[in-house]
C-alpha cells in the first residue's frame, strides 16, 4: 500500500502534468446537476448584488425597521426587473406587438452563442484529452486574419468564396493550435504556458499586420482595421436582414454533431478519451500519446478558429480590428466548463452565455443595471463549477458516485 513499488529509481517523480490531468478529469467528471446548481447559485448571488446596488433599496433600507415592506418591495422590484429584462432581452420580448419582433431577442442570443459554442467545443475537446487550451484568443485571431484576408482581398465566385474563406480560417486556427500540440509532444512544454504566449504572438502579429498597408489594413485608411468583407464571402443571413443570425450557426450545429461523433463514436475520439483519462494505460495499449496530443490540439485550434471565422464572416462583416476575438477565447473556457466538455452540454452552455450577452445589454438599457453584473454572474458560475465541493456543501449533496476507496487511497498518497 504505502510501500512504493519500484525502489530502483524507475518511477519518475509525479510532475505537474499529472496534477493538471487530474484537474481536467475532475472537470470532465462533473455532473449536470452541478452545472445547473452553479448557474442557479450564481444568479442568486447576482440578485444580491443587484439588490444592494439599487438606489431604491438603499433608500428604503434607511427605515427598514419601521417599514420593512418598502425595502422588501424595492428588492423584489429591482431583482425581478433586472432578471425579467435579462429574459426579455435574450429570449422573447413580451412588449413587442407581433411574434416576429418578439422573437428577435432569441435570434440575438443565438448569434452571440454561435462563436461561443464552437470555441467552447474546441476548448472542451482539449479538456477531454487532458489539455488546457487557454489559447482561444490567439487561435481566433489567426483564423480571423486568414478568413478575413480571403474575405476582403481575394475575389472569388459566390459560394466558393465563402467556402475558401472558411477553410482558410479553420486551417489557420488548426495551425495555431497544432504548434502547441507539437511543442508539447516533442519537448514536453506545458500547453498552458505555450497557448498563453501564443495569444500574445497572435495579438501583436495581427496588430502589426493591421497597420501594414497591403497586409490586413484597409487600402487608403490609416486605421488599424481591415476593409469590409466582399459580399460573396459573407455568411448569408438565416431569417432575412432584420435579424442578425447568420449561417455560421448552422456550421456550429454541424460542428457540435461532428464533435459528438468524434468523441463518442470514432476510433480517434476513443484514443483521445483514453489519453485524457489515463495516458499511461493508453500508452501501454499502443496508443501514440504524443500523436494524440498533436491531433487534439489541431482539432481544438480548428474549432476555436471557426469561432474567429464566424466573427469576421458573420457578425463583424464591415472589417475588423485586433479586438475581433471579443474575449470569446476566454469565455469559451467557461462555456466548456459549464457544458462539462460534452458537445451538447457545451451547446446548451453556449446558448446560455449568448443569452447573458444579449440580455445583459437589454438589462443595462431597461433597468440601468451595469452589464458588469452579468460578468460577475458568469464568473461566479466558473467559480462554482471549479469548486464542486462548495456547491455540494451549499446544497448538501452527497459525493458523486459511491467510490470511497480511490478517494481514501488518494488521501494516503497525499499524506505521504
Amino acid at each position: 500500500m504505502s510501500d512504493t513499488t519500484a525502489p530502483a529509481a524507475s518511477t519518475p517523480p509525479t510532475d505537474g502534468r499529472d496534477r493538471w490531468g487530474q484537474i481536467a478529469r475532475d472537470i470532465v467528471g462533473g455532473s449536470v446537476g452541478i452545472s445547473i446548481l452553479a448557474v442557479v447559485l450564481a444568479l442568486a448571488f447576482g440578485a444580491i448584488l443587484i439588490a444592494t446596488t439599487d438606489e431604491e433599496v438603499q433608500a428604503t433600507s434607511a427605515y427598514f425597521f419601521s417599514r420593512p415592506t418598502d425595502m422588501l418591495r424595492a428588492i423584489w422590484e429591482a431583482v425581478f426587473g433586472a432578471y425579467s429584462a435579462l429574459f426579455q432581452g435574450s429570449i422573447y420580448n413580451f412588449r413587442a406587438d407581433e411574434f416576429a419582433r418578439g422573437i428577435r431577442p432569441l435570434t440575438e442570443t443565438l448569434t452571440f452563442a454561435t462563436p461561443l459554442i464552437v470555441a467552447g467545443l474546441g476548448v472542451g475537446l482539449g479538456f477531454r484529452v487532458g489539455m488546457f487550451n487557454i489559447g482561444g484568443r490567439g487561435q481566433m485571431l489567426a483564423a480571423a486574419a486568414a478568413a478575413g484576408y480571403v474575405g476582403f482581398a481575394v475575389p472569388l465566385p459566390p459560394v466558393i468564396h465563402v467556402i475558401v474563406a472558411v477553410i482558410a480560417g479553420i486551417a489557420a486556427g488548426a495551425l495555431w493550435g497544432g504548434i502547441v500540440g507539437l511543442l508539447k509532444a516533442r519537448t514536453g512544454a506545458h500547453e498552458v504556458i505555450v497557448t498563453i504566449m501564443l495569444n500574445f504572438v497572435a495579438l501583436y502579429l495581427i496588430s502589426f499586420l493591421l497597420r501594414t498597408p497591403g497586409a490586413l489594413q484597409a487600402p487608403g485608411s490609416s486605421n488599424p482595421k481591415t476593409a469590409p468583407m466582399l459580399d460573396t464571402a459573407v455568411f448569408p443571413e438565416l431569417f432575412g436582414p432584420s435579424y442578425n443570425l447568420h449561417a455560421g450557426f448552422l456550421l456550429v450545429i454541424a460542428a457540435t454533431v461532428f464533435v459528438w461523433w468524434l468523441l463518442n463514436r470514432s476510433s480517434m475520439g476513443f484514443k483521445f478519451r483514453a489519453v485524457g483519462e489515463n495516458p499511461h494505460a493508453a500508452r501501454v495499449a499502443g496508443i501514440n500519446v504524443n500523436r494524440v496530443y498533436i491531433l487534439a490540439m489541431v482539432l481544438s485550434g480548428a474549432l476555436v478558429g471557426l469561432a474567429g471565422v464566424s466573427q469576421v464572416l458573420g457578425t463583424e462583416t464591415n472589417g475588423f480590428s485586433a479586438g475581433i476575438d471579443a474575449g470569446i477565447g476566454f469565455d469559451a473556457i467557461t462555456v466548456a466548463l459549464l457544458g462539462r466538455s460534452r458537445p451538447w452540454g457545451i451547446f446548451v452552455a453556449g446558448i446560455l452565455f449568448g443569452a447573458f450577452k444579449a440580455g445583459g445589454f437589454a438589462m443595462q438599457a431597461a433597468e440601468g443595471i451595469p452589464i458588469d453584473i452579468v460578468l460577475v454572474v458568469q464568473s461566479l458560475i466558473v467559480l462554482f463549477i471549479a469548486a464542486p465541493p462548495l456547491v455540494r456543501a451549499i446544497f448538501r449533496l452527497p459525493l458523486p458516485g459511491s467510490k470511497p476507496k480511490p478517494r481514501a487511497v488518494a488521501v494516503i498518497e497525499e499524506a505521504k
Binding site: M1, S2, D3, T4, T5, A6, P7, A8, A9, S10, P12, P13, R25, G29, R265, S266, S267, M268, F270, K271, R273, A274, E277, N278, H280, A281, A282, R283, V284, A285, G286, I287, N288, G401, K403, P404, K405, P406, A408, V409, I412, A415, K416
Partner: protein, 506 residues
C-alpha cells in the same frame, strides 16, 4: 532512547495494513524492519512519524506513551526520518534546508543562517561528512543529499532515526558508505530503524531483525541467520498455491533475448546484458526481489523503455526499436505490473477497456467509426467467459474489484492472436479465488502453444507456474533453473548468490 510500539493496528477501509504490530528498539541499536513491498513497513513508520494515526495501539518512548498528531510532534519527541524520497528543497542551500521548519531569526525576522551553517559544519565534522553548507541541494549527488537529510534530523536532536528504504536510490558504493554512517550513528547512541527488503544490507548492519509480512510481525531473526532463513520468513509459506498442470511440451525457441540492456534517463543500468530464451508452450518465470530490473525487463519487451540495446527477437522478428503499437500487433500480450495505472482506464466502461489496445481497425473499428454493437457482443461474451463480476458491460472499470479489473485485462490480452504472453505480477493484490483463476488461464495459454513470461516477486507464484525459473538480481540473471528447484535455492539466488554458492554476485 528506547522506542516501543505496542499493538499498532492501521486499517485503510477493508485493508489491514498493520495488524497488532509490536516492536521494540533499544537505545543504540540498529533494528531492521524486513519485509516485501506492501508488507506494511512504511505504513508502520508513518504511524510512528505522526503522518498516520493508528486505529489501535500505542507508541512509547522510554516508557512514556506518546500522542503524535503530526510529524512536528514526532520530531519534538526525538524521532527523525530519512524518507525514501528526500524531503529537501532543491533550490535551497544545505544550511537553508537544515534550518527549514525551525528557523532561528534574529532582530527584524532576519534568518540566522550562520548558526545553521555552524550546525551543518559541526555535525558534518562529527561524522566525517564533507558537506559545504552553502551548496545548493540540487547540485549534490543523491548520496550526499541523503546525508543532508540525516544532518537535518540530527540537528533536531533525533534520538531515533528511521531510514525508509534508504538504499533504494543509492549506488553500491554509496550504500556501503551509508552502512558505515549507520554504524557511526549507532556508536553515538542513536537508535536506528532500518526499513528494507534487501537481505545483504540487513545482515551487514542490523543488530536485530523483525520480519513483517502482510501487515503482521511473522518473526524475529538475528543477523547471523542465513539468507535462506530470512528469505523464507519474508516471503512466507503460509499460502500453498497449487495449479493443476500437465508437464509442459515445449516447442522451439520463440522468444530469444540477447544481450539486453536497459538504461534509465539518469544513466543507471537497470537491466545488464541479459540473455535468455522462451520456448513455445512453456512458462518462464522471472523471480527476484522487487526492484532488481524485472519491471524494466518486461517494459523493454513491450517497447515501453526508451533506452534499450541488444536484441529481442520473437519468432525470428526483431522487436527492439519498434513502436508499442507494432509490438502489440506482432502478437505480444501484456499484463502490466501496475494494473490501475497501466492496465485499465478507470473512467472507461468494461467494454471500452476490452478494446483499449485494439483502437484501430478490425474488429471494433471500421472506417474510423467504432462498431459499438460488435463491441457490446464481444464484451458480454468475455464477461461470461472470464467470469468478470460486473453489473453490466457499461460499468466503469474503476468500480470493479482488483481481481475483476485484472480479469478485464486478461480477457483483453488473451482474446488477441498471441505469439507471446508477458504477465507482470499478475496476481498482486488479488484474492485467492482470483489468483487461482488467473493462474489457470496462464497455464491454458501455455498449453495452447504460446510462450509465456511471468514476472513475480512471490515465490509461491513462481513455483506454481514456472517450467523454468530465471532469477534476477541487480539487473542480472543470476541463473536459469528448472521449475522444481527448491525454494531455499531460489531464496539464495534472489539474494544474489549464484548456484555455485560463490557469494555475492554483485
Amino acid at each position: 532512547m528506547e522506542l516501543e510500539l505496542h499493538g499498532i493496528t492501521k486499517r485503510f477501509g477493508a485493508l489491514v495494513a498493520n495488524d497488532h504490530i509490536n516492536l521494540t528498539v533499544k537505545p543504540g541499536e540498529i533494528h531492521a524492519l524486513l519485509g516485501e513491498n506492501g508488507a506494511g513497513k512504511s505504513t508502520l513508520m508513518n504511524v510512528l512519524y505522526g503522518l498516520y494515526r493508528a486505529d489501535e495501539g500505542e507508541i512509547l518512548l522510554d516508557g512514556v506513551a506518546q500522542h503524535f498528531t503530526g510529524p512536528g510532534d514526532a520530531m519534538a519527541a526525538g524521532i527523525g526520518m530519512v524518507h525514501q524520497h528526500f524531503m529537501l528543497i532543491p533550490v535551497f542551500t544545505v544550511a537553508e534546508n537544515v534550518m527549514l521548519g525551525h528557523e532561528n531569526t534574529s532582530f527584524g525576522g532576519r534568518l540566522d543562517l550562520s548558526a545553521a551553517r555552524a550546525k551543518v559544519r559541526e555535525i558534518s565534522k562529527r561524522f566525517g561528512f564533507d558537506i559545504d553548507p552553502d551548496a545548493l541541494v540540487e547540485d549534490l549527488p543523491v548520496g550526499v543529499q541523503q546525508r543532508v537529510e540525516i544532518i537535518k534530523s540530527l540537528s533536531r536532536d533525533a534520538k531515533v532515526l528511521v531510514f525508509d528504504e534508504p538504499t533504494a536510490v543509492l549506488t553500491p558504493q554509496e550504500t556501503d558508505e551509508l552502512m558505515a554512517i549507520m554504524r557511526q550513528l549507532k556508536e553515538a547512541g542513536t537508535s536506528i530503524v532500518f526499513i528494507t527488503h534487501k537481505l545483504r544490507e540487513v545482515r551487514e548492519v542490523a543488530d536485530r531483525i523483525t520480519v513483517i509480512r502482510l501487515g503482521k510481525v511473522v518473526g524475529e531473526a538475528s543477523p547471523k541467520s542465513s539468507n535462506t532463513e530470512l528469505a523464507s520468513l519474508m516471503v512466507g509459506r503460509s499460502v500453498e498455491l497449487t495449479v493443476k498442470k500437465q508437464p509442459a511440451k515445449p516447442g522451439k525457441a520463440a522468444l530469444v533475448v540477447t544481450d539486453l540492456r536497459v538504461i534509465d534517463p539518469t544513466g543507471q543500468v537497470l537491466v545488464n546484458s541479459i540473455s535468455f530464451e522462451v520456448k513455445a508452450g512453456e512458462v518462464l518465470a522471472i523471480a527476484g526481489v522487487q526492484g532488481n530490473g524485472q519491471t524494466e525487463l518486461t517494459e523493454a519487451l513491450l517497447g515501453l523503455q526508451p533506452r534499450v540495446t541488444g536484441s529481442i527477437a520473437l519468432d525470428g522478428r526483431e522487436l527492439t526499436g519498434k513502436s508499442i503499437r507494432s509490438i502489440l500487433d506482432a502478437g505480444v500480450g501484456f499484463v502490466p505490473e501496475d494494473r490501475t495505472e497501466d492496465g485499465v482506464v478507470a473512467e472507461f466502461t468494461v467494454a471500452e477497456n476490452l478494446m483499449l489496445d485494439r483502437s484501430d481497425g478490425a474488429p471494433f473499428v471500421r472506417y474510423g467509426s467504432l462498431r459499438l454493437n460488435d463491441l457490446a457482443d464481444f464484451a458480454r461474451e468475455k464477461v461470461t467467459e472470464f467470469d468478470i463480476r460486473t453489473q453490466s458491460i457499461e460499468t466503469h472499470a474503476g468500480r470493479l474489484s482488483g481481481g475483476n479489473q485484472q480479469k478485464v485485462v486478461l480477457a483483453r490480452e488473451l482474446s488477441r492472436d498471441l505469439r507471446l504472453f508477458v504477465a507482470a505480477q499478475p496476481t498482486r493484490g488479488l484474492d485467492v479465488g482470483s489468483i487461482e483463476f488467473v493462474h489457470t488461464r496462464i497455464i491454458e495459454t501455455r498449453d495452447s502453444g504460446i510462450p509465456v513470461v511471468v514476472v513475480s516477486t512471490e515465490l509461491d507464484e513462481v513455483t506454481a507456474l514456472a517450467d523454468r525459473i530465471a532469477v534476477m538480481y541487480r539487473g542480472n540473471i543470476v541463473g536459469i533453473v528448472p521449475g522444481d528447484t527448491p525454494r531455499e535455492t531460489l531464496g539464495l539466488m534472489m539474494a544474489g548468490e549464484s548456484l555455485a554458492g560463490s557469494g555475492d554476485a554483485a
